[in-house]
Amino acid sequence: MSQKPDAIRQLASGNEAVALAALHAAVKLGAGYPGTPSTEILEVFAAQGGPAQWAPNEKVALEVGLGAAFAGARALVTMKHVGLNVASDPLFTAAYTGVTGGLVIVSADDPGMASSQNEQDNRHYALAAGVPMFEPADSQEAYDFTLRAIELSERWRIPVLLRMTTRVCHSTTVLQTPGHPVPPAPPVVFVRDIPGRVMIPAYARPAHRRLRTKLEEIAAWNDKEGPNPIIDRDGELGIITSNVTYQHVREAAPGASVLKLGLTYPLPIETMRGFVASVRRCVVLEEGDPFLYQAARAASLEVSGKPEMYRFGELDVERVRRIVAGDTSPEPLPTAGKPPELCPGCPHRNVFEALRGLGCIVAGDIGCYTLGVLPPFSAMDTCVCMGAAIGVGLGLRHTLPLEQARRVVSVIGDSTFVHSGITGLVEMIYNPPPTGHVLIILDNGTTAMTGLQEHPGTGRRLNHEPTGKVDFEALAHALGIKNVRVFDPVVESDAISGIVQAALAKDELSLLIGRRPCLLAAGASKARGKADAKP
């Protein structure tokens, strides 16, 4: 162990457990972009003294983490599942280059979409990129597997995915630290390795072969000593499972034998084969896509999977019971609760009221302001992924009949603009539609949706200390956008309609910035101000 933490038994969420493991392994750099359910990992890591920073987006976070790992430092990169789409470009080639210091990438998936725009199953990324993947079932494993992931990453010099889900990230369970010990960190020093890190085709071809050799070795290791315990019960029913689904399985089928997979890529196929042979009937139980099932069938294992209806949403004890029983009868619908809404007095409200009044076609984006889609506003027509507001709005403008094109507006939040809207702005000046375009940035000075994180547009770092700041107006001017107008959506609420209308009438490119702090962020920064002022 790089640090010798006292043995403590405590309650911790899965996210807190990952943060603690990173601290105990002396991780030198934590980088990420906020996203439910992953956000607290870096916040807790930073609060306990860990060096952590928000990146403008997940791609940059992974690249920074990779650079640190090239230097020999241990790095932790965190994001929600869709964040890995953004970071997938460096991911696939980082698998080729490999790393020197341990590099752990947390992907926090959201089956059931508690707070996401899709429920993609990121286990496919491990397979597609060729990076090992651990899947913890509770906070203890979140801690232990983070340490094991660092160890594996350094032993095979390969980035490792730690795939969590909402129920592991946000469930609090008993955690005993320290768990699995990790060897001391390698020295941090630049050692040149041109063929290893410069992926021109001549070097990338052998790198691809090296990667496949590593994965074969890791698969053999996983079969021999991987974290894949077997609970031996009756020989009648066997269940192969992993992550939090294991917990539901133990409760729903206490009499079944269970093979619980901890390292789910590359799979311990021989261990699985032996387990299948030891039981009369074997079911693969997994949330999301049939990832384990297809791998088992490809290896000719005699297993059954789950009916298609259980691909959707989270699994729980009842659904696992139904899968084991082969029950495909319709499931009871959950009672609808009260949907979330924009806070009373939220500065976003007045903008959506104006857009509704003007009959705009609104290419929207992701953040608190997405709630502008719900009544009483019903003022958003598209929402796909972060940053899409601008590109989608431009596509609509380019192709719609002129009368409709002139009503198209793109609306994006400040954090989202920095994350992936800046390239959209460049597209806007590079391929301007004949009718021009109107982009509205809702600048509330924070990343409100995920719990008020700083970002490069706030000019404050993760720990709220001042730093460099992206100036949206200056950026627009530098790109040659002549019409830039800043307004206060609360003080100038009556003027918003007129401001948007004037911009729409121009057939030119306009950037409108509605600037007013989020109510909650204003409260939090005031409280921080007071705390700072204390002697």
């Binding site: 508690a114 469930s171 133990r250 729980d316 009672t335 009260k338």
Partner: protein, 158 residues
Amino acid sequence: MPSRSTTNVVIAGLGGQGVLTAASILAEALFRAGFDVKQSEIHGMSQRGGSVSSHVRFGDKVFSPMVPTGQADFLVVLAVDQVDVARPMLRAGGMLVEPSLVESKQLTSKRSLNVALLGTLARHLDVADPLWHAAIAATLPERLHAANLRAFAIGKMP
């Protein structure tokens, strides 16, 4: 030692009412009382005033962090209009703990209703008062301790 099977508690309310804080205090108290405990919640958009619930399960060994529908032994509801939304979680014969059970006039602040209802729940759980007090102290910032200890006592009074 007699084996203690899993007991299920669901706490429900609206974003901003302190559902998650109440669940953390409950989980911490049970942990200090020597139980295996799991607490699970869905946050994200809950901050914006929508329905929120948190599950707390305890016993000798707890597996799933989620209370199966219709199996809550206790349902604690902080907002009257959320009772119907959350009621399907309660098992037949399970106990509903709702705001009307607390002498709300005695509460100095509406904000501590969550902890007052924990006091009411505490009448039915095998957890000693000092452990509750320690859990409150461990979960909340110091300036809120006195008010919440008072709220807990008000809720606990029969």
